[in-house]
């Protein structure tokens, strides 16, 4: 047990209490958890499927699935990690159904943090340009490869976590990442 006066621990305890209540069917407790995590879920959905309307549907379905599966949540992982996994699975199912949405831009309306070198306008401009090229390059790689790059390089998941979430082997996840990074490097070089 952590220090009960530690703000992080207090927050963790509060979330655990809400989870326990929601697991017993308390929907008001689930609504609080939903409000706290919906942005994270939606952001991941946007990155995985691109289209904002499809992402909204994915987020909705993921959160409904989370409610149904909540009694099975044992608390081994953080709630946000568990929600991410559900979102990845949901996005995967949705994308199979909605191929027509492919090709939408993955970060069309995502605001990235201001460049670190904001004091140096020439460098800030360079970073912004790089980000735009990166966004377009990510759009161009195949869905399966993009998902692995998003989960590994943006969210920092392990190969094992990616493999489990996507229902593929660890080797397949590594191969996809390897190919995706190669394509990204080549693509960015060509557009430089």
């Amino acid at each position: 047990m952590g220090n009960p006066s530690d703000p992080g621990q207090v927050e963790k305890n509060r979330e655990q209490e809400l989870i326990a209540r929601a697991q017993k069917g308390d929907r008001s407790a689930f609504a609080v958890l939903l409000r706290e995590h919906q942005d994270e879920v939606y952001t991941l959905a946007r990155r995985l499927v691109g289209d904002q309307h499809l992402a909204s549907d994915v987020a909705q379905e993921a959160l409904i699935r989370a409610w149904r599966a909540l009694p099975k949540f044992r608390g081994d992982a953080r709630l946000s990690t568990w929600l991410y996994r559900i979102t990845v699975n949901t996005a995967w199912t949705h994308k199979k159904r909605a191929k027509r949405h492919q090709g939408a831009s993955i970060d069309d309306h995502l605001e990235l943090p201001a460049p670190v070198d904001a004091g140096h306008p020439e460098m800030a401009g360079e970073i912004l340009e790089l980000r735009e090229r990166l966004r377009l390059a990510l759009d161009r790689i195949p869905d399966a490869q993009r998902e692995v790059v998003v989960l590994k390089d943006i969210y920092g998941w392990s190969h094992a976590e990616i493999a489990e979430s996507m229902g593929i082997s660890v080797t397949a996840a590594k191969v996809r990442l390897h190919r995706a990074r190669g394509r990204l490097a080549k693509d960015l070089e060509e557009t430089a």
Partner: protein
């Protein structure tokens, strides 16, 4: 760009992103190839930018919470309706009526 540069590209990308060494097979080539070194440096910057994306949150649509909670309300309403004896009785009566109609309708030989 040489064939070796092409083959080395994904390994250089992996090395730049993960911070590890380039595969030994390509190490001597990378040490002397300016193109591959430039690619390594570019990919390292890309890795930093990808990691920066991780801290960005997009606000969920304002109606997302309402949509989720409404769906849950709907599910609950359906499950509750089935738990009511009257709903069961209505279902049984409907099925009985359907079977009777099916039996009573004259059929062609």
């Amino acid at each position: 760009m040489s064939v070796v540069c092409e083959m080395a590209a994904p390994f250089i990308a992996n090395s730049a992103v993960d911070g590890g060494e380039v595969l030994p097979l390509f190490r001597s080539h990378t040490a002397t190839c300016l193109k591959c070194q430039a690619r390594h440096a570019a990919m390292a910057r890309i890795a930093r930018e990808l990691a920066a994306m991780g801290s960005v949150r997009v606000a969920a649509p304002t109606d997302l919470e309402w949509r989720v909670m409404s769906s849950l309300d709907g599910e609950l309403a359906v499950s509750r309706s089935w738990s009511r004896p009257i709903a069961w009785l209505a279902a049984v009566l409907s099925m009985t009526a359907a079977v009777l109609i099916w039996k009573l309708i004259p059929r062609r030989a």
